[in-house]
């Protein structure tokens, strides 16, 4: 897959960072505003897909990226499970126990462990979507040769 024209590349460079930041905002404010790990993860994956479509194979090493993204999603889902079992350290035998202090509702640092779950679910969703898309792109390229 060849990259697109210079105008598209330049605009993509400017936009992709902003879209990525917006995804991080959606994830971090998941317990306060609409959004959360699922929406934010999909937006972050969208930013990467935009970069891949604009720059193509010449600028990015896609095979290295697919290995990296599948590793990242594996680590993220492992972290979700570890976080769910964390309450055992405090002597409470409940799966998915909210062990951190709740704080004042409506502030950024509140709701105990829910922001942490949001972050790891977001990484997992982004990694999974990116892995599927990269696998498709690499397969298309290899079979068209």
């Amino acid at each position: 897959m060849e990259g697109m024209s210079t105008i598209v590349k330049k605009i993509t460079q400017l936009m992709a960072g902003l879209i990525f930041l917006y995804g991080i905002y959606i994830i971090l404010h998941g317990h306060l505003t609409p959004g959360g790990g699922f929406a934010g993860g999909a937006i972050i994956a969208g930013a990467f897909i935009l970069l891949i479509l604009a720059f193509g194979n010449s600028a990015l090493n896609l095979k290295k990226e697919v290995a990296g993204s599948s590793n990242i999603e594996s680590v993220a889902i492992l972290m979700v499970t570890i976080l769910a079992m964390m309450a055992l350290l405090f002597g409470i035998k409940v799966f998915f126990f909210n062990f951190l202090p709740k704080g004042t509702p409506g502030e950024l640092l509140s709701a105990g462990a829910i922001p942490l779950y949001n972050i790891f679910i977001g990484i997992e969703v982004a990694g999974a979507i990116l892995t599927i898309f990269l696998a498709l792109v690499i397969f298309k390229e290899e079979s068209s040769k």
Partner: protein
């Protein structure tokens, strides 16, 4: 009640597509149509007139909120729908590269 019935009509359109179409891509499209109709039906059941979106403003009391449970269920179902569609697309492109067609009846007849 009309809205529920229209939702079911959309579901039947998807079912008709799955049964009658021979193209793999069209079957994937029909399955996502069925998914969409179910999402809409679940969210419609949870709607309350003049209810607020389920985000609590701390300090206020006595507000009516829309049912958050169907929304949470549908939120997971949407992402699962994306995963199944992507998986179907992977199978479709793999079969296309091997047999040079999307027609499921021809693929069934070819061996090896």
């Amino acid at each position: 009640m009309t809205v529920y019935i229209l939702c079911f009509v959309l579901f039947l359109v998807g079912l008709y597509g799955v049964i009658t179409r021979r193209n793999l891509i069209k079957i994937a499209i029909s399955m996502s149509i069925m998914e969409f109709s179910i999402f809409l039906l679940l969210v419609l059941i949870g709607y309350i007139d003049n209810g607020l979106a389920p985000i609590v403003d701390p300090g206020t009391t006595g507000q009516v909120y829309v049912d958050p449970l169907p929304q949470a269920m549908v939120l997971t179902a949407i992402v699962i729908g994306l995963a199944t569609t992507a998986m179907l697309m992977a199978i479709a492109i793999r079969l296309y590269r091997k047999y040079k067609t999307f027609d499921i009846r021809e693929i069934k007849n070819l061996r090896g």
